[in-house]
Amino acid sequence: MIDLLVIPLIKIVIVLTGVLITVMYLVLLERKVQAWVQVRLGPMRVGPHGVLQPIADVLKLFIKEDVTPVRADKFVFTLAPIIVLVPAIIAFAVIPFGSTVSIFGKPVPLYVADINVGLLYVVAVASIGVYGIILAGWSSNSKYPLLGGLRSSAQLISYELAVTLTFVSVILASGSLSMVDIVTAQRANGVWFAFVQPVSLFVYFVGGLAETNRAPFDLPEAEQELVAGFHTEYSGMRFALFFLAEYANMIVVSAVATTLFFGGWLAPFPTVPFLRVLGYVPGWMWFVVKTFLVLYVFLWIRATLPRYRYDQLMRLGWKILIPLAIANVIVTAVVKVALSY
């Protein structure tokens, strides 16, 4: 009973709260990083150095009027943000935040579930979010959201292919679809897959930027062109759900990158003798640090690069990333077969 129900429930609550709080503070971090790059200070008014800004933001979104356009399809209009948010959050179910720890003599693995098709689950769940975006764009019954929704559906589908192909090469390298096994395979190999699969990492990261609609691929919400893209007509809490989903997706992409390419919860430099002390830091801390480093690159890129145009983005996806990913899969497979002989 305890093993089956209570512990998983507690874990789910912890992960959920953790994700939501991280999202809140990721927004602050983003604003701060952007500000520092742009010789500004960022939020400074709410709390010292703006640390309470996220709370103020959430409060504002709560008390805002939630407008539904008269000619919108009300049911779909309400459903769309939920469809976007839920997959972003349930993807965390298979992310291994750490290895098994013992609490009161009871071994507790630091992940909600370790299913043997973990990676497939991530891909599957991540694709559901697209529906929400298309539905949001369509149900608003307005031109800008419609264009924004169409753009993002095309974008997400094309980049998902490339991203999924990079997963294939990682699976070839690790020999497993389970997220936990992928991490342990990296420990057994003695080297993170970032160094074994640099091309995969590159394609995955670019694809990840595109899939989370981040700069330089933030076309669906190119405010200079399509006002606010698919969520132009949304306000209040329903808008907050989109916002939450975007950042939750960023965290998913970073967490998956950490798991697949940066050794998950493993401490760095296990072979360097005098750095072995790093191994005493709890694994989940390494996981958090690595995830935030990846997230930082997201923010850094946003502050640096201009935005791609729609057709250029498609060209990059189909003509560069996907062939690159396919070639990488083939090379990985050939090398793997050659090594096994």
């Binding site: 790059v37 010789v39 405010e223 200079q224 006002v227 640096t304 201009p306 729609y310 250029q312």
Partner: protein, 374 residues
């Protein structure tokens, strides 16, 4: 399948989109009615007039001296340029002699203004294409220019910085040194913007071969200023019909080769370098003397009319003034605003491009609606 057959089989409709007047990227209250085929722009119709304040008509009821501050409100990111063009036109009408020091100072102010205007242009153009950081970097340097103007004439946006016959006052002490310091900073920071943009693949893809206009077409459509020079026509009023102290300055007129958005970007960046060069020369050779010439107490030009043009940051800014010889205000005042003339080219530039390019193209012709609508 033939395109016509396809059109018959699948019922396609052009989507009409109103971009503006309340749109974050139309640089004010410009309205562009776009006809879209998918994301492709079939046609564009520019609707202006949302910021019309009747400056030309108002001028007919103002003294010649009062009109200077109306010119502030034309191109409000480059008001000193409009001040200069107007006062020089009136001086031409009155055949007034302006002291040499005033001419030099006007040149310095006009070039600082050009830098400020180009900084706003670069910042907003880059931001439209998604590079937000460049915008803040540009405004950081513009701030220094505004500080210089504030020290000179007390205002930061609408300067009212010129007078008929000269300048309202001489430079405050130490101003020239600060301006030179600013020049050094600006040159250094220009390199910084270029690091972010000039060789950036995304920037290149977004601006290369976008909105190409040939030299002949550019002349035919009436382009002026940097967009004209971007197409390879070396027309610069400062060189061709020198005013203020430009005849004594050494500077180059950069021209583009392809006439695309990237060339116009390069031309403006090079113009900023040339502006710094002019400011340094003018401060170096600044003559002593008064800054105000002999001006009659009541400005009442003889009957007649005149036209005089300046190279404002946006292009050729001209004033036409007709005087009936009896009144202290113009019988008719007409502004030839460069933004307005350049905006004419927009439908031609955007045809066949994508929606995202419309934004880049509105940015590249550098309009200010205050000047377009007057």
């Amino acid at each position: 399948m033939e395109p016509d057959v396809a059109r018959q089989m699948f019922d396609t409709d052009e989507l009409v989109i109103n971009m503006g007047p309340q749109h974050p990227a139309t640089h004010g209250v410009l309205r562009v009615v776009l006809k879209l085929d998918g994301e492709k722009v079939v046609d564009a119709d520019v609707v202006i007039g949302y910021l019309h304040r009747g400056v030309e008509k108002l001028s007919e009821n103002r003294d010649f001296t009062q009109i200077v501050l109306l010119t502030d409100r034309l191109d409000y990111v480059a008001s000193a340029a409009a001040n200069l063009a107007y006062v020089e036109t009136v001086e031409k009408l009155l055949s007034l002699e302006v002291p040499r020091r005033a001419k030099y100072l006007r040149t310095i102010l006009a070039e600082l203004q050009r830098l400020a205007s180009h900084l706003v242009w670069l910042g907003s153009h880059a931001m439209d294409i998604g590079a937000v950081t460049v915008f803040l970097y540009c405004l950081r340097e513009r701030e220094l220019i505004l500080d210089l103007f504030e020290e000179f004439c007390g205002a930061r946006l609408t300067y009212n910085s010129m007078r008929i016959g000269g300048l309202p006052q001489d430079l405050p002490p130490g101003w020239d040194r600060k301006a030179l310091q600013f020049c050094d900073i600006q040159i250094e920071k220009l390199a910084e913007y270029e690091t972010l943009l000039t060789h950036n693949r995304i920037w290149l893809e977004r601006t290369r071969n976008i909105g190409v206009i040939s030299a002949a077409d550019a002349v035919a459509v009436g382009l002026c200023g940097p967009p004209l020079r971007g197409s390879g026509v070396a027309r610069d009023v400062r060189k061709d019909e020198p005013y203020a102290a430009y005849a004594e300055m050494e500077f180059d007129v950069p021209v583009g080769t392809r006439g695309d958005t990237y060339d116009r970007y390069l031309v403006r960046l090079e113009e900023m370098r040339q502006s710094v060069r002019i400011i340094r020369q003018a401060i170096g050779g600044l003559p002593e003397g008064p800054v105000m010439g002999k001006v009659p107490r009541l400005i009442k030009p003889p009957a007649g009319e005149t036209y005089h043009a300046n190279e404002s940051p946006k292009g050729e800014l001209g004033f036409f003034i007709a005087s009936d010889g009896k009144s202290t205000s113009p019988y008719r005042l007409r502004v030839r605003p460069p933004s307005f003339c350049n905006l004419q080219a927009l439908p031609r530039l955007v045809r066949g491009h994508l929606v995202a390019d419309v934004i880049a193209l509105i940015g590249t012709i550098d309009i200010v609606l205050g000047e377009v609508d007057r």
